[in-house]
Subunit: 146 residues, 2 copies
DNA sequence: TGCATTAATAGAAATGGTTTCTATTTACAT
DNA sequence: ATGTAAATAGAAACCATTTCTATTAATGCA
């Protein structure tokens, strides 16, 4: 697995630094999306000296390289998530517990085709994200009202 | 048209103030999305005293009330757009000239159904937006390279 | 293995879009 | 007209994110 990350980083022409690998490990071991500061707090448990700007920079680089994915949160702050699913897909994110679940169903290909045909524009990127409350949080909420 | 905005505001239990109406007029007369500060600059042409926080507050209230729509921009800053299309739809936004075009084709209903069935979660909101370069900007770009 | 090159980093500082706060004014129901 | 609750101006604060610079570390090659 370490080898895998190294390969990925090299493909992106990013140097394989201990902190870069640690950031990836932190995200990989989380089932929820994290803010840069949260990643930083976890990182500080392993490194005595580590700057918050380093975390911001690394997260952005890794997101640019499609190694991790960025969450589009209603509060407009930055959150990142490591997703094992290598194919194009989108996410259902829980606004309460931050769980991320894959939406393998992507109807974007058809949409993109129509945008190109009907609007004659060039598609640079698209955002499709479903925000809500996950199964577990719904259950929790139900109990508290019981 | 003035009457229309008044009705809309009253339904939302928002008082009909001159500045609120002016903000709506400004957005309605624009074919591109605007930042709060840009709305403010235009507003200052009509009112000698007007605060930027007023603009922020009004835009947010109007967006909450579905009178205007918020743009999810890659730079994570706030932009708003007044859309005449009353039915549920999404937008193609030009990252260059800020033009907004409707995508009447919404395949969200099916997606939502699947999210509910397969993930057993509650959908609170969804974001679907296509970012790119519009027909006009593509043409402009092509000419500059010619 | 040593060296040159270039990227990565720490830490401090700045940034600036956005929000908060409070006194004052305004809309509007009665 | 009058009372009340909402809306506002202006100043100030906020704080997540970015910039800056000197230092350190990774990497490719001799
Ligand atoms: Zn949840
Ligand atoms: Zn995923
Ligand atoms: Zn354009
Ligand atoms: Zn529209």
């Amino acid at each position: 697995m370490l080898r895998d990350f190294q390969t990925v980083l090299k493909k992106l022409h990013l140097k394989v630094t201990p902190k870069r690998l640690a950031i990836l490990e932190i995200l990989k071991n989380e089932s929820v999306y994290l803010s840069p500061e949260e990643v930083w707090r976890k990182l500080r448990k392993q490194f005595s000296r580590v700057g918050l700007p380093t975390v911001y920079r690394n997260l952005e680089e890794l997101a640019q390289g499609d190694v991790i994915s960025k969450v589009t949160h209603p509060n407009r702050q930055l959150y990142y998530y490591f997703c094992l699913n290598p194919s194009h897909h989108h996410h259902f994110i829980c606004l309460s517990c931050r769980t991320v679940e894959d939406i393998d169903f992507c109807m974007f290909r058809e949409l993109e085709k129509r945008v190109k045909q009907e609007l004659k524009g060039r598609v640079v990127s698209h955002i499709l994200q479903v925000n809500g409350l996950c199964k577990k949080c719904l259950k929790k909420d139900g109990e508290s009202h019981a």
